[in-house]
Symmetry: C2
Subunit: 577 residues, 2 copies
Amino acid sequence: MFSDRLNGYLRTAARDDALAAFIVAILLIPQSLAYALLAGLPPQVGVYASLLPMLAYAALGSSRVSSVGPVALTALMTAQAIAALVPADSATPGISATDAALVLAAETGLLLGAAALLRLDALASLLSVPVLQGFSTGAALSIALSQLPVMLGSPARGFNAPDVLAAWWRSGQWGQAPTAAFGIGALVLLILARRHAAALLRRWLTPDAARLAARCAPLAIFAGAVAIVAALQPAEPAAAHGVALVGALPPMRLPIALPPLAGALWWQLLPSAATIALITFVSSLAVSEGLALQRGEIVVARRELAGLAGANLVAACSAGMPVAGSFSRGAINAEAGARTRMAGVWAAGFMALAMLLLAAPLALLPKAVLAASIVLAVLGVAEWAAFAQAWRYSRSEFAVMLGVALLTLFSSLAIALATGVALSIALLLQRTARPHTALIGRIPGTEHYRNVGRHQVEQTQGVLALRIDESLLFTNARQLPGVIAGYLAQHDAQPGALPTRRVLLLMSPVNHIDLSGLEALRALHASLARNGIRLDLSEVKGPVLDALRAGGWSAWFDGRVFLSHHQGMLDEHGSAG
Amino acid sequence: MFSDRLNGYLRTAARDDALAAFIVAILLIPQSLAYALLAGLPPQVGVYASLLPMLAYAALGSSRVSSVGPVALTALMTAQAIAALVPADSATPGISATDAALVLAAETGLLLGAAALLRLDALASLLSVPVLQGFSTGAALSIALSQLPVMLGSPARGFNAPDVLAAWWRSGQWGQAPTAAFGIGALVLLILARRHAAALLRRWLTPDAARLAARCAPLAIFAGAVAIVAALQPAEPAAAHGVALVGALPPMRLPIALPPLAGALWWQLLPSAATIALITFVSSLAVSEGLALQRGEIVVARRELAGLAGANLVAACSAGMPVAGSFSRGAINAEAGARTRMAGVWAAGFMALAMLLLAAPLALLPKAVLAASIVLAVLGVAEWAAFAQAWRYSRSEFAVMLGVALLTLFSSLAIALATGVALSIALLLQRTARPHTALIGRIPGTEHYRNVGRHQVEQTQGVLALRIDESLLFTNARQLPGVIAGYLAQHDAQPGALPTRRVLLLMSPVNHIDLSGLEALRALHASLARNGIRLDLSEVKGPVLDALRAGGWSAWFDGRVFLSHHQGMLDEHGSAG
C-alpha cells in the first residue's frame, strides 16, 4: 500500500520536487547561517532549524510549496526577546542564548498547537493589512540596518535603529576596509546577478535552464568569497586581515533533547513567544495563501497552524530556533516547479548533505558576505508602493501603517504590533461610532430609494425616510435618537413642510442590532410616540428581525415592518400624511 | 440686564424650583452623610460635597433637573481607591483618606475637563448597555452587602463581597441587638413609607400634596430615630447602648483650599480617577438624558462633561469628595417640578440651612439608620428585569452582563469595567469577523432579491448572486475569497448546473471597505478572473464607491457596477450565461 504510493510518487512528482528542493537548498544554506547570526545565535543553530522542522511541516502542514525554516522576521524577534532577557552589558550566568531560543521555539510551537486545537485561526484577522505592511517594511529596514555594521566591519550591534546607531556612534569606527570590501563587493555582485544573470546566461542556455542557473549565482559569489579568503590567508583563516568569518561549524550531530525546562525562563519568554507565534502564523499563512491562490490550491488555516506548531516543537527538540514559512524560499520553490510537500523533505536532505560536504569551505565565508545577502533579501520584501496606495485610500489607515513601521524601526516589534492591533480596533470602533446617515427619496418611475444629496429623487410630504449605514451597536446606539431628532428639526424647518407623521427607516444596511441598539430603538420609538410620530421599518434582514422578535420587541413596538421600502412609502397612513 | 433676568426668574420659575429643591434636600441630607461614610470618610465630607459643587454644575452643566453631589457608585469607587492606597492593616502615616478623596475629586475634575476640551464625549459609547446594567446591578448588591454589617451592628467592613463576608466571619459576631433594632426597624419603616405613605396621606390631603408629603416620610423616620436615641441616653449620646451614631459634626466653615499637591499620591490615584471619571460621566449622562427625553429637552454631552468637571474641581477645593449626577435625586427633582438649573442652587441653600439648624440632632442619628436608607436606595437601582431580557435577546451579551455583575460584586469596580469594555469590543470584532452571507434570488414578478433560504425566489443560471451582510473590514476580509469559493463549489456541484460565468455581489449592506477589504476584493477579483469568472457589484453605496475610486481600483477592476441588483441580473453577459 505505502510502497504503491511511494512508487507512484517516484514515477510522477519526485523529479520536479527534487529539482525545486535543490534550488531552495542553495538559498537555504546561506540564509540558515545568516538568520542564526541575526538572532544572536551560533550559525549551526540555523542549520539544525532547517532540517527536521521541514519534515514536521511536510507531515502536518497544508501548503504544498511553503518552505518552513529560519526566517528574518522571527530571527529578529528572537534576537529582541533574548536581548531583553540577557542585557548585553551584564554577564548574567546560567541563561544562554541558545537555551532561550529553544524555549522560544517550544513555546511558539505549543501556542500554535493550542490555537489549532481551540480553532483560534480567526485571531490572525486581528492583523489588518496596514499593520502587516507597515510591520514588514519596518522590520525589513530594521534588519537591513542591523546588518549594515556587519557588512562594513564595525563591531556595532543592535536590534532596532536607535540601538544600532548609538552603538555605531559609540564604537567611533565606521567599519574596516577589508571587511567592507567583501560586504560591498558581495552586495553589488548579488544585485547584478539578480538583475542580469538570467539574461546573460540565456545567450548559452535555454530560457528555463538559464533561469535555474541564475538561481545558483549567489552560490558562485559565496564560493568566490571563500576562495579569496583561502588564497589570502591559508594558514590562519579565522583572522584573515581582520575579516570576521563564519568559522568552523561543530561536527553535525543533530542533538535530540527536550528544551531546558526552567520555569522562570519559560515564564519570562512567554509574552515574546506569543508575539512570535502570532507573526509566524500570519506571515506564513500570507505566504502559503498567496502561493495557493496563484496555483488554484486551497490552504487550510488550521492545518497551517498544526504544521507550524509541529515544526517549532521539532526545532525546540533538535537544537534549533523558532521557524516560520519563508517568503523568498516559498516563492522560489513554487517557481522551480515543486509539486508536493515532499519537496521540503528533499530540501532537508540536500541541506544535510551540503553541511556534510561544505562545512570546511563555509567556515571561510566572511560574515560580511552573509550580511550583504540578508540586506538584499529583506529590502526585496519592503512594500513601498503600499504606502502610496494607503495614502490615497485612507489617511487614517496610512497613519496606522506609518506608525507601525516607525515603531518597528525605532522601538520593538512587539510594541509595534500591539499598537497596530489597538489602533486597528480603535479605527473600527470609531467607524461604527460615526455612522453615515442619508435622507433618501424615490428615483422617479422606479421603486429605488437613494440618497437625496447624490441623486435626483422625489420625497413624500410628512414621511421622513432615512437610511442608517451601519449596524445598531453599542458604539453608536446612544446617538440614534439625537440623530433622528436632528433630521426631524431640519425637515420641519423647511418652509411649507407638513409636520412629520411617520419616520420610515430603511434597514437593509443594518446587519445586526445588539442589546444597546435595541434599547436605543426603544428610546427612539418612545420619544417619537410622545410627539405623535409613528416609527416604521423597511427591509429588515431576516436574522435581525428574528433577534428583535426574540427580544420581545412586540411588547412595545407599535409601527409596521415592510418587506420593501417602496411598500412602506405607499402605506395608507403614510400617503394620508 | 441681570436684574431683569433675575426678576423674570423670580416671577416665573423660582417657586417651582424652590419647592423641588426642598424635597431634594430632604433626600440629600441623609444621603450626603451616608455616602461619605460609605466612602470611608467623615460624614461632613458628604455635606461639603453637596454645597458648592451643585452651584458649579448649575453654572456649567446642561441638564435642567440633574442633581449633582455624592452618589453611592462613586462613593464605593472612592472607597476602593483609598483602600488600595491605605491597606486597612498597615498604619501608613502621611496619607489621610480625606486627602486622597480630595485628590481623586481634583483628578476626576481635570480628566472630565480635558475630555470636554478634547471632545472625547464619544468615549462614553465604550460602555455598552450590558456592561452598564451588569455594573450597576453588581455595584448595588456590593453596596447593599457592605451596609448590612453597619445596619446590624457588626464591625465588619469591606468594599466587595469577599472582603465583607471574610471580615464578618472573622469578627465572629453577627451584629448587636440594639443597633440591629434601629437598622431593621428603619428599613421596614422606609419600605412601608415608600409603598403606602402616599396612599395613606391621600385620605387627608390632595393627591399632589400627599405625594409631596410622602417624600418627607424618611425625614420623619430619621427624626423618630434621633428622638429615641435622645430619650434613651441623654447624658452620653455617643455610646447609646453601643449603637454607633453619626456623632457631632464639626462646625460648618466650608474650608476653601487647593487639594494636597503631592505628586506620588496624584500618580497612584490616577488610574482610579480615570475609572471614576468615566463612570461619573456615563452614569450622569444616562440620568440626565433619560430625564431630558421624558421632558422633551436636549442634553449636550460636552456641556455635561464641563458641568461635572466644574463640580468635581469645586468639590476638590472645598473639602469634598468625587461627585456625580444622582439617579434618585434627579428623578425626584424632575417629579417635584424643578424648571431650571437654579433648583440646584436652592437645594444647596436648603442643605446649608439644614446643616446650621440640624447639626445637633443629626449627631444622634444611628449609623444603622443611614445604612438602611442606603440599602433601600441602591436596591431600587438594580436592574433584575434587564438580565431576563438580555438572556432572551443574546446569550453572549447576557454572559457579558452577568460576568460584569459578578466581577463588580466579587472583585473591584475597575476590573469589572475594564473586562466589560474588552468583552464588548471582542463581541463586536467577532460579529464583524463572521459575517452572515446569503445566496439571493428574485421574488417572482418584482425587482426585489432576497435570501434563497427564507423566500420563494428565482435564480438565474450561470450567475452567482450573493449578499454579504457586513462591511468588508480587516476582521473578515481574509475570508472573503474562501467564502465565495465555497458558494461556487456548492453551486457548480448541483446536478445540471451551468458553469458559473459571473459573480454578482449585492453591496447594499456593505457600509465600508477598509484597506484590508480592498486587498481582499482585489484577491477575489484575481482568483475569479483566473477561472474565467467576472466579478460584478450592485447597489454600491456612494461613500464606498468614492473610496474605491480614490484607491485606484479602476487599475485592476474589470467588472461592472450596477445601480440596482435587478439591472445587474439583466445584464447582457449575465443573461447569455
